[in-house]
Subunit: 159 residues, 2 copies
């Protein structure tokens, strides 16, 4: 059994690596893909904290809520000109795993409206996130809606 | 051959997943580990652009340089209170892959000096990054030194 695993692991690892892009960044756009995914990771982590508080799954803490809101706002305001090179979509061969649909590029700059909606929502969230749970909850709806608005149009379903 | 791969892939994928933490985030600190790694990914991507320009591997472009400097500064100023939970080091079992040494926690808040050195360096970089290659180069040394200062003390060698 051990021998079987050892012999087949290089092939399997290659397949897994090809599928996830987790083990290399040798595609021409992989660094950019990973940079934008890092931005999304930071969106998700900070929204996760705020959502957990809003849903009562985590105790509300004004300092942590404010920090998460500020982090989310900072991530939403990153300059993205180098994050989305032409050809870094989910249909072009050779890219790291991405769910970015080609329509992003064919309708550009339409997607910028979605990014602006997120920035507007996070700008409204920052000044209230530390003011108690009710104010936090009141500002979270627009954040969630702006995430969904972009994902609905521009992100492939999970396979 | 195809059959062999199909039969052994689940086991191999499990092993790869265990090794890299790329396929799950089920460890108690994995979300935090991935959030800080996203921050580092953004450091690296933006420093990579600026270094490529400084070394003549990429044409200097004032707008792109300024954007990369601003992104780096934004990433350096993210609030990190939730990124480094106790037990999220590279020796504690059950964590996603991390190179964060336990000394980070045993000497805390010493590491904050390193983070502050990076913030100081990026604050000096932003106003000059768009002013031409010479000014960019002049401000990159302190950025690189601050990266190295932290990595030398707090990051495990690559295996």
């Amino acid at each position: 059994m051990r021998k079987t695993i050892r012999q087949t692991l290089p092939i399997a690892a290659l397949l897994v690596g090809f599928g996830t892009g987790a083990l290399a960044d040798d595609g021409p756009h992989d660094k950019a893909i990973k940079a934008r995914q890092a931005m999304f990771q930071l969106y998700g982590f900070n929204i996760g904290i705020l959502s957990a508080m809003a849903k009562g799954k985590m105790d509300y803490d004004a300092d942590i809520a404010l920090e998460a809101a500020e982090n989310l706002d900072a991530a939403a305001n990153l300059g993205q000109s180098q994050f989305w090179p032409q050809g870094s979509d989910n249909e072009t061969e050779g890219n790291a795993r991405t769910r970015a649909l080609p329509v992003i590029w064919s309708t550009f700059p339409a997607i910028v409206e979605k990014a602006d909606a997120l920035k507007t929502a996070t700008a409204a969230l920052v000044p209230v996130a530390g003011n108690g749970l009710d104010e936090l909850k009141g500002a979270m709806g627009d954040v969630g809606a702006s995430c969904k608005g972009c994902h609905d149009d521009y992100r492939a379903e999970k396979k």
